[in-house]
Amino acid sequence: MTNLRIFFIGGYISYRALFNWMAPALYIPTMLGAPIFQILFFAYIGRYAQVQNDEFFVVGNAVQLSAMAGIYGMAMTIGGERWTQTLSQLMATPANRLPLFLGRALPLIANGIITSAFAFAVGWLLLDVTIGAEQLPALGVVVAVSAFACTSLGLVIGALGLRARDVFFLANLVVFSLLLFCGVNIPLDSMPGWIQAVGRALPLTHGIEAAREIADGASLSEVSDLVWTEFFIGAAYAAGAFVLFKLFELEGRRRASFETI
């Protein structure tokens, strides 16, 4: 019961503190405004370079945008504790670390899904994209799995925040790198082999591929391999993050580095 309370209530409070939910002036430009322009930017480059159609860019970027909340959010949840000098108190609590940090991840997954849904809606409204209504539930599943996988990658970055001082730098680097490695705006098979190999080991790549096939009319069962691969990649990152949390917590206690800014 205590773990459930930590998971749900702790996660909710952390999320409110993190994104300042109640301030639309902050939330709307960052989480909803910027994605509109990201989609338009890449769709217009696509038109200018004469590569792919609008649907390719809307689907790629809409799924990629589900990563933003998970990666930045998880990085900030640890970096923010360090910045406000509350990381030591957090590490001193007897709370189970698994619900403590997974509880913080859950609202971010939900946030990623909302951002992604909004991005799809923008693509449909502003660009030449039509996705059948019957495809939306399957698309929702793929986005949810991708958001989970990206939040797991965010957990790894958050764990590194127990050790590294400037985790925001790393979060920025990872979010931008996903644009390059995951086939968000470029067909993956037109990239060099090593980029494809790195991309296949990252969250998003399989999710985007599945979402594109669904947008083209495939059913969820037809892309189940891709969806499961995305899920297992996310699970692997989450497991890795948990190991890193334990390792860096011990290391932080030994080196007394939780308060270092």
Binding site: A23, A34, F37, F41, Y44, Y48, A49, Q50, F169
Partner: protein, 256 residues
């Protein structure tokens, strides 16, 4: 002479201190390289040929805009957080002359972006680095940086009136990349974007760099950059006066 000395000393100081910031190095070097790579691959996969230098210059200019936007947009708020805003306003020189070197420095840091994307493109994507009119290019580069730096002054003095300036910065990065034609021809965009692009220095800056590097006459674009820089200076001056008066009246200088 003392004005020039003040601007020079302030600019040098801020360039040095910004160079120490990991965030700025990311914004100025790594982010443009990633965007340039994405753009190179997109253009290579696409049907439009012979545009890689066009892409390299555009991606570099994207970095200059990002560093100006995030550096200048939060410049006054940053001084406030550091507790140095009162000193900046209390010193004998006008506040304008204290802030201008900082906004110029944020645009100057963006030169790392341009160098990085050109070098990256040359090393890995066979981007030709020959410049058709070196004289015009050498003039266009600093004029563009100064134009963006003065646009940064407008951002610095207007964003401070908005509590969530960082959110505004997040919002404005992509639209300006798009509306100033850094990687996309403006002719593809809706007609109403045209007038917006004309009042933004990056539009003329990137055109000046491309005209001088690829072919053509860059001097009209250089002239537009200078003209817009002057307009930004005047707007920034009045906005700063407005901010300073409000802050003194409401005693909000040191509020964080």
């Amino acid at each position: 002479m003392s004005v020039l000395r003040l601007i020079w000393a302030g600019w040098k100081f801020h360039v040095k201190s910004l160079t120490l910031s990991g965030f700025f190095i990311l914004t100025s070097v790594i982010q443009p390289i990633i965007f340039a790579s994405v753009a190179y691959f997109m253009f290579e996969a696409g049907a439009r040929a012979g545009t890689l230098l066009y892409v390299a210059l555009g991606a570099g200019m994207m970095g200059i805009w990002s560093s100006t936007l995030f550096g200048s947009g939060g410049a006054i708020q940053w001084q406030r957080w550091q507790g140095t805003l009162e000193y900046c306003i209390a010193v004998p020189p006008p506040f304008l002359l204290v802030i201008v070197p900082l906004t110029l420095a944020t645009a100057t840091i963006g030169l790392y972006s341009l160098s990085a994307t050109l070098l990256w493109g040359w090393l890995f994507f066979d981007v030709p680095l020959s410049v058709a009119d070196p004289m015009a290019f050498v003039v266009a580069l600093p004029v563009t940086v100064i134009g963006l730096g003065l646009l940064g002054l407008v951002l610095a003095s207007s964003f401070i009136l908005y509590r969530h300036a960082n959110a505004l910065s997040n919002l404005l990065e992509y639209p300006v990349w798009l509306a100033t034609g850094l990687l996309v021809s403006l002719s593809l965009l809706p007609a109403w974007v045209g007038p917006i692009s004309w009042v933004l220095a990056p539009t003329w800056g990137i055109n000046a760099l491309r005209e001088s590097a690829i072919a053509g006459n860059a001097w009209p674009e250089i002239g537009m950059c200078v003209l817009l820089g002057g307009v930004y200076l005047v707007i920034g001056h009045f906005l700063l006066q407005h901010f300073e008066r409000l802050a003194r009246e409401r005693a909000t200088l040191s509020l964080t």
